[in-house]
């Protein structure tokens, strides 16, 4: 795998003075602009790491991964020369397999990794673009039910719904296809084949220099006249709304597809590693998204993408139903419940400055890491959940992305967003017992459809 490492100009160049002289930066090796996806966290303070030192190590892992995944890609998806941000363009992760291409309507086997995406009919004939179909945590036809409590769509200041998508990398794609997990019948066969078969995606490993499973969830906002396009990573998308007439499956909407330019506002990166078999949960947002709740209202300098200082609306409430993306909705009024830590802010400054060395106008410098959740008491291996502490003591205890867990932010156990707590509830379509039920922290396997083969329940 070709990788590019970009080194900033001479260390003592004034552009870097501020970042490098911060105490944290002086204590550690400088971060790199590199297209290499780290295999695992680099623990910097053995033999006695602390909670704080490990948090920083995982945060560095998050940023390095963010940079590598957003590295400009060549046509085949491999990283190009870069450096990242010199020009905005398709990223490495955008070449990965979309969830709807894996879990198909009749449980058909997914096409090969390199095969282009199959577009829904209404999108054919429109100018080419990336298909986006999910609407935040609205229960859509295929998915997004699976998020907790059908909490609601995120609506921008123009009244338009944000859209999400999920992709997985090739190792995770292979895990799914090789074990037949893309259909209900495939899952049933897999679990029946051996009493030891369980869902366990592959771990990345430093000793073995091997990349394991990574899944990415992105949230996008439709760019309109009010947006400064140059501040976003942008993509030409096909914003597709599947038709639905049954409220059991979600809002009643007509099928539609529209070519729109969209800007990235949120990015989840979830990576299963040998030192974190409960996965590493990294999340990023556009810096303009929302103010923090702890900032007094009069100091909330905008402009924000999902908050309007002049609006009297109650914060963090979903819009009233019905939730129909074809109809302009009340703009969401969102604040961040849990403020960024000082450590996170400092690291963000460091990396944003680093990104600007490649291009002072780098769109990527307009993104910030919110936090990284990692297991403080990790499972002993990559195959089986820990018997008495399946979550592995998530650090921090709660984590939410304001664009993806908008309405469930907070610090109440089980009810507020914690990546691992919620994803631990994910299941397969074969809920016979704990072994067959456990889906290794991804809700994707619930999207498997039935082939309709005899003897199966739909």
């Amino acid at each position: 795998m070709k990788k590019e490492v970009y080194r900033p100009g001479p260390r003592f160049g004034c552009a870097l003075c501020g970042a490098l002289l911060s105490p944290l930066a002086l204590a550690l090796a400088p971060p790199d602009l590199s297209s290499h996806i780290p295999y695992d966290v680099a623990v910097t303070a053995p033999p006695t790491p602390t909670l704080e030192s490990l948090q920083r190590d995982f945060d560095v892992l998050s940023w390095q991964t963010f940079i590598a995944l957003n590295w400009p890609a060549q046509a085949d998806g491999s990283p190009g020369t870069g450096p990242i941000g010199k020009e905005d363009g398709p990223t490495v992760w955008e070449s990965w397999k979309e969830s709807y291409q894996i879990f198909r309507a009749k449980g058909e086997k997914p096409l090969a990794w390199e095969a282009p995406a199959i577009l829904p009919k209404p999108c054919e004939g429109l100018k080419s673009g990336r298909l986006l179909q999910q609407m935040g945590k609205v229960a859509g036809v295929l998915d997004e039910f699976i998020q907790p409590f059908q909490s609601g769509p995120l609506v921008d200041q123009s009244g338009t719904y944000t859209r999400n998508e999920i992709v997985v990398n090739r190792p995770m794609f292979n895990d799914i296809v090789d074990k037949g997990l893309y259909s209900v019948q495939g899952q049933q066969a897999y679990f029946a084949a051996s009493p030891n078969n369980r869902v366990a995606f592959s771990c990345s490993s430093n000793p073995h220099q091997k990349l394991g499973a990574i899944m990415v969830k992105a949230s996008w906002k439709v760019l309109d006249g009010n947006d400064q396009r140059s501040r976003f990573h942008t993509v030409d998308a096909l914003v597709y709304t599947p038709g639905n007439s049954d409220p059991t499956h979600g809002p009643i909407v007509e099928e539609s597809c529209k070519a729109e330019a969209v800007g990235l506002v949120g990015l989840h990166i979830v990576h299963k590693t040998a030192l974190a078999p409960q996965w590493v949960w990294s999340t990023f947002e556009h810096v303009d998204n929302v103010p923090e709740k702890t900032t007094p209202p009069e100091q909330r300098k905008g402009p924000y993408l999902f908050y309007n200082a002049a609006s009297p609306a109650k914060v963090n409430e979903p819009p009233p139903r019905p939730w129909n993306p074809a109809v302009k909705a009340t703009p969401s009024q969102i604040v961040r419940e849990i403020p960024l830590t000082e450590a996170a802010k400092a690291l963000n400054s460091t990396y944003q400055a680093l990104l600007r060395t490649a291009n002072p106008q780098s769109v990527w410098a307009n993104y910030q890491m919110i936090d990284t959740q990692w297991p403080a008491d990790p499972a002993p291996d990559c195959e089986t959940p820990s018997p008495t502490n399946p979550l592995g003591s998530p650090a921090p205890t709660f984590l939410a992305n304001a664009t993806l867990e908008t309405f469930i932010q907070g610090t109440v156990p089980q009810a507020s967003s914690s990546c691992m707590d919620c994803h631990n509830n994910a299941t397969t379509r074969v809920t016979q017992n704990p072994r067959t039920t456990f889906a290794d922290f991804t809700y994707l396997l619930e999207r498997a459809q039935s082939t309709g083969a005899a003897g199966s329940k739909p």
Binding site: F145, I146, P148, R321, N433
Partner: protein, 739 residues
């Protein structure tokens, strides 16, 4: 005073109100729901936080208004200061006869011990989610056993409604486990989700009860059908065994009515006004309901902020079995001097719970059953719910609990404190050991892992159903924060019910001591000071718990003199008024009532939808496919019903009705080959596949578009003159409902 208008006004956003609002919204009917409590929150954090921080984790503990055991410290929380108060377990502990602190003004002689919620989504927020159907014989207590009151409908009348309820709620069960005591299911019926695995506690009962019986009836453990996800369903998560169904499922794997209410809102035809308390039902000179007055508030203990009247063509009161009669009786006026809908005098009468006989114990040493795991209950002993004994004593079902001794003694708290303090209040520490260190851990483990409890849900039957001993009337003295008279409860269990308790105690001791070989810890000599639910029967003291079921207070029947609503749940007195929920149950059986509430709500919704939106059309014999103008959404079940007229497809076939002439079968090229010539045929949309209607048929589900009708004949004139010699027309109704 403001005015709100809709086609249908519904009071109550609980299970019944939500289902009806949803069905009517799907049918294109405009609905306004008035809900006394606060709205469905954006997430569960506030409710969960309240739960975590409550030292008294009762069913109500997550929900507003907050309950507490130190009333003097919280004067603003007392019922007279609250705008939408409701009964709580704390009320019972603080003094069930104290109206200063108890929302229900209880006159006794026995305490009514069940509670409910007044919030968007209603009491299903805190139900266990048991979804049992009533038994066929439950509907015929009087005819079969000479006690109680017969329903005007039977089990089969509810068959398709039960299936619809099971789909809406999402019930996990296997038919093979549920077809006992006369219950039947449609051929090839499958519950929406497979059954939930039994717990280790259940398994112990299964092996101990194998081949055993009580009072001549087999003791059999059955998995309990539950409104709880055993698979990903309708966008909700799968049960993770939080063992917290009551009071709140942290992850909404358990169904609650907010699911249906949200779907109702998605139709775009339903509005809900929260913190809007229905205060009075207006009746006009023609005995029609002419409006429902309401009072609105913002703060639970604040002043009223607005008032108004809601106007509709039809009115539905779905406020549960105490608030509904309270509203009706509070609305007495010149046009309805005994209270709205109360010419029979039965409104508020026959208030029934399933009073519970609770029994508990410790499995023998070394026999761990590992409670506190899984849903609160996964199985029960259902095989004793019916039999000849019902001539003489109340029937019951037995719920097996997975939460150890949490309910009977408040464990693990009680045992932990006993083992540390050297006390024996819990009865699990008979020698008052005071422990620490590893000894404490091992002993605590030993005690907790052997705990179990069973609950007998006893059918409550009035001695004289037309002159009930259990009833609610509005209090003439005590009001809530809005000045609305609170419910005054009179409650006295009949000897028939108490004899059921006596048998329950015997069965419990038999099962626990002889079959399980366990130590029974049930308090066989309860005292009224520690047990609000208390009575003495046959010289023995009994305590009872509330099941959280309230039923019977506006019963359905076929005689307007002795019932409040007819078999359509329509008030006898006021044709545009429907009363729904389990207040309509003339007898309660032993099943938890919610599934039956849901089924009946689907039926009431069909009646209402037909009254407002059924279409009558005529179909000509001599024309091909004719549009009806009826647009189908593919979701609401629809029927096509022959009403009248005759037509002919051929002179030889003669004049026939919708069934056509079975002597002549349609040939290829006909509207529907293979079906009778002259039969009524339908299709949905111009390219829909034709289906046979005959005189009555369900329109196949999932098809959207306009309903079109046609006679079954040679459409293209392939064999002769085709439609030209046809005569006559049929009149047909397109309705809502299932067969």
């Amino acid at each position: 005073m403001s005015t709100e208008q809709a086609d249908v006004v519904i009071v109550g956003a609980g299970l019944a109100g939500s289902i009806i609002a949803y069905q009517l919204g799907l049918a294109g009917i405009k609905v306004l729901v008035l809900e006394s409590g606060p709205s469905i929150p954006a997430n569960r954090t506030q409710y969960m936080e309240r739960f975590y921080n409550a030292t008294l984790k009762t069913p109500e503990s997550p929900y507003p208004p907050a309950s507490n055991l130190q009333p003097p410290l919280y004067p603003q929380l007392q019922p007279a200061q609250q705008n939408a108060p409701r009964p709580t377990i704390a009320d019972l502990i603080n003094g069930w006869k104290e109206p200063a602190t108890s929302y229900l003004v209880q006159k006794g002689p026995e305490a009514f011990t069940s509670t409910y919620e007044r919030v968007g989504g209603g009491t299903t927020w805190h139900w266990v989610a048991t979804c049992l159907r009533m038994l066929p014989n439950d509907f015929r207590l009087k005819s079969l056993y000479g006690v109680g009151v017969d329903w005007p409908i039977g089990y089969q009348d509810l068959q398709s409604a039960y299936c619809r309820a099971e789909a809406e709620i999402g019930v996990a069960a296997d038919v093979g486990d549920q077809d006992y005591l006369g219950m039947t299911f449609p051929e090839d019926y499958q519950f929406p989700m497979h059954s939930i695995p039994l717990s280790l506690v259940d398994q112990r009962f299964v092996s101990a009860l194998k081949g055993r019986s009580f009072a001549g009836m087999p003791l059999r453990v059955s998995p309990t059908p539950a409104g709880r996800n055993s698979e990903p369903y309708a966008g909700r998560r799968v049960c993770a065994g939080n063992t917290n169904c009551t009071p709140i499922c942290p992850i909404q794997a358990k169904y609650d009515a907010t699911v249906t209410l949200n779907k109702a809102l998605e139709t775009g035809n339903v509005r809900v006004l929260y913190q809007t308390v229905a205060s009075k039902v207006r009746v006009d000179g023609k005995s029609n309901i002419s409006g429902i007055e309401f009072i609105q508030y913002q703060l639970g203990d604040g002043p009223p902020t607005a008032n108004g009247v809601a106007l509709g063509q039809r009115y539905v009161i779905a406020a549960h079995a105490i608030e509904t009669p309270k509203l009706l009786l509070n609305s007495a006026c010149a046009e309805a001097p005994k209270g709205v809908a109360n010419s029979s005098g039965q409104v508020g009468r026959s208030l029934a719970d399933h009073p519970i006989y609770l029994a508990w114990g410790l499995m023998p040493p070394g026999q761990k059953v590992f409670p506190y795991r899984g849903p609160v209950s996964t199985a029960g002993i259902e095989s004793l719910r019916d039999g000849a004994f019902r001539h003489h004593r109340a029937a019951w079902r037995i719920e097996i609990g997975n939460e150890g001794l949490n309910w009977p003694i408040g464990d693990p708290y009680a045992t932990v404190c006993d083992l540390i303090d050297g006390k024996k209040d819990s009865n699990t520490n008979p020698t008052s050991l005071a422990l620490f260190g590893e000894d404490l851990i091992r002993t605590l483990n030993d005690r907790l892992t052997r705990q179990f409890r069973i609950a007998f849900l006893v059918e409550q039957v009035e001695k004289d159903p037309d002159h009930a001993d259990c009833y609610i009337v509005p209090s003439s003295e005590y009001k809530d924060g809005l000045g609305i008279p609170r419910p005054e409860i009179h409650y006295k269990l009949s000897d028939y019910t108490k004899e059921g308790f006596k048998q329950a105690r015997q069965a419990a001791t038999y099962i626990i001591t002889e079959l399980l070989g366990a130590t029974e810890l049930t308090n066989l000599k309860p005292t009224p000071d520690k047990n609000p639910g208390f009575f003495i029967y046959d010289d023995e003291p009994y305590s009872f718990q509330g099941a959280g079921h309230l039923m019977g207070t506006y019963r359905m029947g076929d005689d307007r003199k002795t019932s409040v609503v007819d078999n359509h749940q329509r008030s006898w007195d006021h044709p545009n008024l429907f009363l729904v929920g389990d207040g309509v149950f003339p007898s309660s059986g032993t099943a938890n009532p919610s599934l039956t509430i849901a089924a009946l709500s689907f039926q009431a919704a069909d009646v209402l939808a037909n009254e407002l939106k059924a279409a009558t059309v005529t179909v000509q014999a001599n024309r091909p496919w004719q549009g009806t103008g009826v647009q189908l959404n593919g979701v609401s079940p629809r029927l096509v019903r022959y009403v009248g007229g005759h037509w002919s497809a051929s002179p030889a076939g003669g004049m026939v009705d919708g069934r056509g002439n079975p002597l002549y079968l349609a040939k290829p090229g006909y509207t529907l080959p293979g079906a009778s010539e002259g039969a009524l045929i339908g299709r949905v949309g111009a390219d829909g596949e034709p289906f046979l209607i005959g005189d009555l048929a369900e329109i196949p589900a999932g098809r959207q578009g306009e309903l079109q009708l046609c006679i079954n004949d040679d459409l293209d004139g392939r064999y002769g003159v085709g439609l030209q010699d046809n005569q006559g027309e049929l009149t047909v109704r397109v309705e809502f409902g299932t067969l």
